[in-house]
């Protein structure tokens, strides 16, 4: 924990920094007056429905559209071949992921469908229902090809190569070898190993992906209404593939019904929708239905990871080694690629610990299933589950308490700056303060005693602990250096209007995290105005500064700092205007509660509306040569560290019914350190939501494919998401270690909950089952998985 001067600018009286103020945009949403893209209707708007491949792998021999074209209400039936005339294909690679390869992907498949659900033809009609009617009358002649579904088999010499021009099904491989791994294992007092298996799962945003393309041939401009996290990225990519200048494309985000990384990618069907608008010269809307969401929203975390850990009898961890394999579908996703997740696993395993002996291999494999890509806490749940699972196995091997082995090995709080075995740079973390606080918060010793008592009665409860680190505030090291036109900086423009109100335009976006709220808080605080005076505009490439958007836990840390700097700059300009009016020295003035005051005495000199009135309507009264500048813009990107790492630790308390295999979650704790907390309520709720999103795949969520590449549970009745009745109350605590990269000192908090929740739950299940000498390293932990491990079925 880093000490702060208690009298910095962030800690002024009535500070908005660190206050749980309600979000200004909630009333609209609470009254059903939000506007999501799925709610929108434009004049002459057509609805597109895609005919999707029923096969995981098939050649398209021919498409007969005649009957569909004759159906009522049909506007157009468009094949991949025709659409390719207006939309070029893309290849999802980044140059800094050396060796990553992929094949060109079209908006609509042209010759071949490579997963069940890939679009092969589009039907545009007056309503969605009519388009669905006509889609049933599109007849596609397929030649079914051998699907590649198993990731291990995909790398065998006799495997069908999905893209023959690539030579094999290996999209990417990374190897890392740090320290003296072989020596450490040879000299270890105990070695534990396991294969960790993760069920492929997906985001299930409650509002499905939604987009409207609106090409106006009169203006030669394409307006895109899209539920996206990264409007400027989309502007660039849409322009590039539709043969337009960026200036011809405007991307607008309205309210977005959940994102979690699902809505930061370039989806083929969404590109097809905007291309259809250009082709048909009218608005075209696509809203994925729930089945399409399951078969085409990116999936994630389809990993098998073998892990080993070396430990000394005194508890010192002396080596980690992993061999991770992940299957990503038939294409690397564009433009962020599908290799980042495995790359993160390599980066993050062992990250909380002092050990410097680490060997890792990751292989990323093509297969004929839906594409995978970055989803909330990218790679972290895998790395954390492997690391923390191995640490618990090591503790068990030497008979040490799980909390104690972590205390023994976590990087000391006074060791910073430091780096991990994989080379990650840590500015300031607080693992030990976090561990201590967590154990106190959960009353660890008492819980252990309760567990022991209940165990005597045959009741099996478990405690699981999981330390983690989390990537936040990414610099250009994430994507920019690899050649992607994805901004890592953000910009904020702040202006005083003539009535003393503040208008803020920011390049970060809002999908419910509270981007709008924290922008208003920070700006209001910087300016010395009540938050109610601030209106925030975001999510519009025509009307905000250029920037990255909201993803990778970056909005508050990067966009928040830009708002802080822009607000400070505007305040200086306001004071300059006031000083010239009042014939005072600007340094003696301040703004408090939207009134210019004497800094020393607090005496009110003039309200901001008076500053605005004079600057805008009576500039003639200002001194000659003085120009009021009541709009300021500032941009920010961290420069010293590629990422602002955060840390934390979670714990789960649960009961396993060893007769049924059912798990009952009793309580969950998360202690985390995201640096300066701008709005504690928003941070806590990000973490709670994230924890539950991590618990989902630990117990329930799994995209289950059969051996032919058919997704067999593509409905909300069969794909189980966490619901209210089964989720525990979650207690949150904080340690605060601000980053010195920014004046605000805020790091990201959006993914911490998801990073460690599954590991904590899995460790707790194994802790509960320890009397049976059973260790399960597979999620989801279904009743059947547990019963099988117990030998009961």
């Amino acid at each position: 924990m880093t000490a702060r001067n208690p009298l910095t600018e962030l800690d002024r009286p009535n500070s908005y920094i660190g206050r749980a103020v309600p979000r200004p945009n909630l009333t609209r949403l609470l009254r059903g007056r939000g506007q999501y893209v799925s709610d929108m209707t434009l004049p002459r708007m057509g609805h597109v429905v895609f005919v999707r491949s029923p096969y995981a792998h098939a050649r398209i021999l021919g498409i007969d559209t005649a009957e569909a074209e004759a159906m009522p209400g049909v506007i157009a039936v468009v094949t991949g071949k025709r659409l390719a005339e207006v939309c070029t294909p893309w290849v999802g690679v980044l140059s800094h992921l050396k060796g990553l390869k992929s094949a060109p992907q079209h908006a609509i498949a042209v010759d071949r469908a490579c997963w069940q659900g890939e679009a092969v033809c589009a039907v545009v009609a007056e309503t969605r229902a009519l388009a669905e009617d006509a889609a049933e009358r599109v007849f596609v002649n397929y030649e079914e090809l051998e699907p590649v579904t198993d990731m291990v088999a995909a790398l065998q010499p006799d495997a069908t190569v999905i893209h023959p021009e690539l030579g094999d099904n290996l999209a990417f491989e990374r190897n890392l070898d740090a320290g003296e791994v072989d020596k450490a294992f040879a000299e270890a007092d105990a070695v534990a190993e396991a294969e960790f298996v993760f069920g492929r799962h997906t985001g299930v945003t409650l509002e499905p992906r939604s987009i409207i393309g609106d090409w106006n041939p009169g203006e030669e401009r394409l307006t895109v209404h899209q539920g996206t996290q990264a409007p400027h990225m989309m502007q660039n990519i849409i322009a590039k593939h539709l043969d337009l200048e960026e200036a011809q494309v405007r991307v607008i985000c309205h309210d977005v019904g959940g994102s979690f990384g699902i809505k930061v990618h370039v989806y083929a069907d969404e590109m097809a929708t905007v291309a259809l608008s250009k082709l048909l010269r009218r608005p075209v809307k696509f809203v994925a239905d729930r089945i399409e969401s399951f078969t085409t929203d990116i999936h994630a975390r389809d990993h098998r990871c073998k892990g080993r850990i070396a430990v000394k009898a005194d508890g010192t961890i002396t080596a980690f080694a992993i061999d991770d394999m992940t299957a990503i579908g038939p294409y690397s996703m564009y433009p962020r690629t599908s290799a980042i997740e495995a790359n993160q696993v390599v980066n993050l395993v062992g990250g909380p610990y002092t050990n410097m002996n680490y060997r890792a291999r990751a292989r990323v494999v093509f297969q004929n299933k839906n594409v995978t890509c970055q989803y909330r806490a990218v790679g972290h749940p895998i790395a954390c589950s492997v690391t923390e699972g191995l640490v618990d196995l090591a503790a068990r091997a030497i008979g040490m308490d799980p909390a104690e082995i972590r205390r023994k090995n976590l990087i000391p709080d006074d060791a910073y700056p430091t780096a991990s075995a994989s080379g990650l740079k840590f500015e300031a973390l607080s693992h030990h303060a976090s561990l201590d606080k967590l154990l106190k918060m959960m009353n660890y010793d008492a819980l252990r005693a309760e567990q022991a008592e209940l165990r005597k009665k045959g009741i099996h409860r478990g405690i699981g602990i999981a330390s983690f680190i989390e990537v936040t505030n990414p610099s250009a090291a994430f994507y920019g250096v690899g050649g992607a036109r994805i901004s890592s900086q953000d910009g904020v423009a702040v202006r005083l209007d003539a009535t003393g109100r503040i208008i803020v335009q920011t390049s970060i976006t809002e999908q419910g995290q509270g981007s709008e709220a924290i922008t208003a808080q920070v700006t209001a605080h910087a300016l010395g105005v009540p938050m109610e005076r601030v209106r925030v505009i975001l999510g519009d490439t025509d009307n905000t500064p250029y920037g990255g958007g909201t993803w990778a836990s970056r909005a508050a840390g990067i966009g928040g700092e830009a708002a802080w700097q822009a607000g400070k700059a505007l305040k200086a300009n306001i004071l300059a205007v006031a000083a010239s009016i009042l014939q005072a020295d600007a340094a003696t003035l301040d703004v408090v509660n939207a009134i210019v005051v004497d800094k020393a005495t607090g005496t009110e000199r003039m309200p901001l509306e008076e500053v605005g009135r004079i600057a805008y309507f009576r500039p003639d009264t200002l001194p000659p040569g003085f120009q009021a500048e009541l709009m300021t813009v500032r941009h920010f990107v961290p420069r010293e560290y590629p990422f602002a790492f955060t840390n934390g630790i979670q714990a789960s308390w649960l009961e396993v019914d060893t007769d049924t295999g059912f798990v009952t979650l009793l309580k969950h704790w998360c202690l985390e350190d995201c640096g300066t907390i701008i709005n504690p309520q928003l941070v806590d709720e990000q973490i709670r939501g994230g924890v539950v999103q991590g618990i989902g795949p630990a117990l329930y969520e799994h995209c289950r494919y059969d051996e032919r590449g058919q997704l067999t549970n593509a409905s909300m009745a069969d794909y189980l998401v966490p619901m209210a009745a089964e989720m525990p109350d979650i207690e949150i605590g904080h340690v605060v270690s601000p980053t010195k990269e920014s004046e605000l000192g805020a790091k990201g908090a959006g993914e911490a909950g998801t990073a460690g929740a599954a590991a904590a739950v899995a460790n707790a299940v194994n802790d509960a089952l320890s009397p049976f000498d059973v260790t399960i390293t597979e999620i989801p932990l279904t009743p059947e998985v547990i019963l099988k491990a117990l030998g009961k079925v």
């Binding site: 009741i459 019914d657 007769d659 009745a717």
Partner: protein
């Protein structure tokens, strides 16, 4: 995800409904609460030419007691059953099952007749009806027919209903004074379909169980009475040995299937676990449950 087009009729009487059903035959689907049918329509798993809406048949809705029989109209909703003091008193096993059926918004629309006609093998009510020895009253243009619940369910989504017939009511004997009941289902999440469920009732005292009925659901292609297991348990005072024999007999009574949630062997295991828990409750002998309680 929009339904295929269909026509719509809303008869004002059972006679009119049956007349429409007779006229349209297989091209028609009856819609009661629609809570299973409408998802199937939206998903285009079903594409009838015409829907015959029973929503206007007020005389099919309601609960009455006639002597020792409770009669429940086919259009009586789950919410009506859940809130009914008559059901709570006269058919406690039905009352015990109701909170497990889906969620409040579904229970406000779903009906007992629609549920039984749908014959989902994972649904609660087909099992409960067998446990309480209910009779399904069905009608066609020529008159009424009464089918014992145990004969009504014939397979996955299949019933003994003939072309042109519809359910008009369910009749069940009022529970005996000394009736003991048990209802439990193992479902992953509240309101989900069960992996395994059991509706059981018996009379008698202590470890002697009379008239034991064990109605399982989600363990085969239809809700099923475990008659062999019940016979074992009814042959004498229940102890751990007898219970174990009954658990073994479930292998013959049930033919659980593999699906998304569990394999057949897991289901059989869980059927045995829930049997022990049921018998512990029915006999009042907690030691038979085979597990600890906090």
């Amino acid at each position: 995800m929009k339904a295929s087009a269909f026509d719509y009729a809303r008869p004002a009487s059972v006679r009119e409904a049956l007349e429409l059903l007779g006229r349209h035959g297989d091209a028609a689907k009856l819609i009661a609460g629609g809570q299973s049918l409408v998802p199937a329509l939206n998903l285009r798993l079903l594409a009838p030419e015409i829907l015959i809406d029973l929503g206007g048949l007020a005389d099919l809705r309601g609960i009455t007691v006639e002597g020792a029989t409770v009669r429940i109209g086919a259009m009586t909703r789950h919410a009506d059953l859940l809130g009914s003091p008559v059901i709570a008193e006269k058919l406690p096993l039905v009352a015990a099952a109701m909170p497990h059926i889906a969620h409040p918004a579904i229970r406000n629309r779903g009906t007992i007749g629609g549920n039984l006609a749908h014959a989902d093998p994972a649904s609660e009510l087909p099992a409960v009806m067998q446990a309480i020895d209910a009779v399904i009253v069905v009608r066609d243009a020529s008159g009424e027919r009464r089918i014992a619940a145990r004969d009504f369910f014939t397979g996955i989504y299949e019933t003994a209903l003939r072309d042109g017939e519809m359910i008009v009511a369910v009749e069940a004997p009022v529970a005996a004074k000394d009736e003991r009941i048990f209802f439990h289902e193992f479902s992953r999440r509240s309101g989900d379909y069960a992996i395994v469920g059991l509706a059981a009732r018996a009379t008698g005292s202590g470890n002697a169980l009379a008239d034991l009925r064990l109605a399982y659901f989600s363990v085969g292609d239809k809700a099923t009475l475990a008659e062999r297991a019940a016979a074992v348990l009814g042959a004498g005072p229940v102890d751990a040995t007898r219970l174990a024999a009954a658990q073994a007999a479930l292998a013959e009574d049930l033919s659980p299937q593999d699906d998304q949630q569990a394999s057949g062997s897991t289901r059989l295991h869980l059927s045995r676990v829930v049997l022990a828990r049921a018998i512990a409750v029915l006999t009042g002998d907690a030691s038979l449950a085979g597990r600890a309680t906090a």
